[in-house]
């Protein structure tokens, strides 16, 4: 049974004191300051006057910025959807693999996950750019075909600095986020239910959609959440792979704090992003409760 803190005040204070102070001082206070700034305006070059104005939030929902919010949400949703489609069969295969194969497959998914995000993005640049591996490979094929067919000179397909590159990059980075929770949900399934469904004449697809998916729904929901949240706030991928029209909300926030030097507006944007994140978590929690199962 848990002890009341009054029974061992010295132990309690020693154990809780330092982490609590750290959390408040080096996390909650900085966030609170940003929150306060979001109700202020620039007063001179370095001073920020907190006046309780809602101007920054009003500006954030102007069409220009609203569009970026919607676009970020759309890109994150598309990324999540692609990760689900690509990752689900992988999770399924891992679930039904032998113990040994399972360990190796999990390692296969996890190793890129532990590799530095910047390095993975950089590796993609080398693949996607005009002189990248894809275009050079295509060029080689094209030249080879050109020996038999009269073909125009090869034009590299522009892939870098497009929305396409951003989506590829986000899927590349977030795929493990989707596969791991899916796997842990599928692994807990009662396999005899699947066998029963197959025995009773349902095909694999029908078993998948009528038995596996409904049973694994909480895991699917948490996979979607775990992928969607970081994709929504992605900074590095759109920054390095995207072009001027593929800026996501995190890039706009960064610009306010660095080049544009409009901290109050950047603060308002970053709190809106945070609220969106909380809404996503709350929606998932509510859906989970309605189903009567916890993810």
């Amino acid at each position: 049974m848990e002890q009341s803190w009054k029974q061992a005040k010295a132990v309690f204070a020693t154990a809780l004191g330092p982490p609590l102070v750290w959390l408040v001082l080096f996390f909650l206070v900085p966030l609170a300051i940003v929150w306060a700034y979001s109700f202020g305006h620039n007063d001179g070059l370095t001073q920020i006057a907190i006046t309780g104005t809602f101007k920054n939030y009003a500006r954030a929902i102007e069409p220009l910025y609203l569009k970026i919010f919607l676009k970020s949400a759309g890109v994150a949703a598309l990324t999540t959807g692609l990760c689900l489609v690509i990752g689900f069969p992988v999770a399924l295969a891992i679930t039904f693999a032998s113990q040994k194969a399972k360990a190796w497959l999990l390692l296969l998914i996890m190793l890129p996950f532990w590799t530095n995000l910047l390095i993975r993005t950089y590796a993609l640049i080398a693949v996607l750019r005009d002189e990248g591996y894809i275009n050079k490979g295509l060029e080689a094929v094209w030249t080879l075909a050109g020996k038999v067919l009269p073909l125009a000179p090869f034009q590299p397909i522009p892939m870098m600095h497009t929305n396409f590159a951003v989506i590829v990059g986000l899927v590349y980075v977030h795929l493990p986020f989707m596969v791991l929770p899916l796997y842990s949900a599928l692994d807990r399934l009662d396999k005899s239910l699947l066998e029963a469904s197959l025995d009773l004449g349902a095909g694999h697809m029908r078993t998948l959609f009528k038995v596996v998916v409904p049973l694994a729904l909480p895991g699917i929901a948490s996979g979607i959440l775990i992928t969607f949240i970081p994709a929504l706030g992605a900074y590095l991928t759109p920054d390095l792979l995207g072009g001027p029209d593929s800026q996501m909300i995190a890039n706009v926030i960064e610009r306010q704090f660095k080049r544009a030097n409009d901290w109050p507006f950047g603060a308002a944007l970053s709190f809106l992003l945070m609220y969106l994140t909380f809404v996503a978590i709350a929606v998932q929690a509510l859906l989970g409760r309605k189903k009567g199962v916890r993810a």
Partner: protein, 286 residues
């Protein structure tokens, strides 16, 4: 068909179906081809980095003689080491307090502790930028490693809640009767913690330490907002190199970091004995 055929795949042996194998193969290529190409081309004797021109180690030589790159790498490792020490201590303490005691405001603390895990990196980055610009301006020109203080503090803030998650998961399997037995046999509060609870916690502390180390070594966004001109970390340095162009030096430097990460992961797996356990560090498995 003279050869003896293997039995057809069982109904649930998805891994033995060729469609599934093809899918897995494609995903593996998608995940690994860019990284393997990056590593292979770090040995390529050509600046343009596309066509294979022969094996060379000169870019490693260059990377090892690039003092700013070395400094950034040393900074990253120092920050990661400091962050690990602080995160493990703080994470274990808060996990112990939450596991052991009933106290008012426990739910609030629980929620607040989850915040650094769920808050978007960019939001935490700007919060740290504002904090260290306005509230606690970190003095410039402090001797090493004190000059890395701001980055280290920021890293500890997002790492120690992860350590707490891992340690709490471990403590769930602790038999409280052991503690009672220790108390019955005359051990005091501190003695019980030191001799009975900590040994049970130990594997989680190791896992938490590796997690904190990797999280710190990996972080770009939050560091980007807290680092100054003389406190550049490896990812920040690579970022500024990548902005300019794709060069073999970056490939060489990245390969070193990838190898380091793979080694760390291998150590983590050896200690855990189960890859699923390492995934648990990210909170998706009990």
């Amino acid at each position: 068909m003279s050869k003896l055929r293997k039995s057809p795949p069982g109904p649930l042996e998805y891994l033995r179906r060729w469609q599934m194998q093809a899918w897995l193969f494609a995903v593996a290529v998608f995940l690994y081809a860019p990284l393997l190409a990056l590593m292979a081309f770090s040995f390529n004797d050509s600046r343009r980095n596309i066509v294979w021109k022969g094996f060379t180690l000169k870019y490693y030589d260059k990377a090892f003689h690039d003092s700013s790159l070395i400094e950034a790498f040393a900074n990253s490792l120092t920050i990661a080491a400091l962050c690990t020490v602080f995160s493990v201590a703080l994470g274990a303490m808060v996990a112990l307090a939450l596991w052991r005691f009933r106290f008012p405001g426990k739910t609030v603390l629980d929620g607040a502790l989850a915040l650094p895990i769920v808050v978007p990196e960019i939001c935490m980055g700007v919060a740290m930028l504002v904090f260290f610009a306005k509230v606690l301006p970190w003095p410039v020109g402090l001797p090493w490693p004190l000059n890395l203080g701001a980055i280290t503090i920021a890293h500890v803030s997002f790492s120690f809640p992860f350590v707490a998650v891992v340690v709490r998961a471990r403590m769930a399997s602790f038999n409280r009767e052991m503690e009672e037995a220790a108390r019955d046999l005359g051990a005091g509060e501190w003695r019980t913690i030191w001799d009975v609870i900590l040994p049970h916690m130990a594997p989680a502390l190791v896992a938490g330490a590796l997690l904190a180390f990797t999280l710190s070594l990996d972080d770009f966004v939050i560091t980007f907002f807290t680092s100054g001109p003389d406190t550049v970390t490896f990812p920040v340095k690579v970022y500024s190199m990548v902005r300019f162009s794709v060069t073999p030096e970056v490939n060489a430097a990245s390969t070193i970091l990838i190898v380091l990460t793979v080694l760390l992961t291998a150590v983590a797996l050896k200690m855990q004995g189960d890859p699923a356990g390492v995934a648990g560090g990210h909170g998706d498995k009990p």
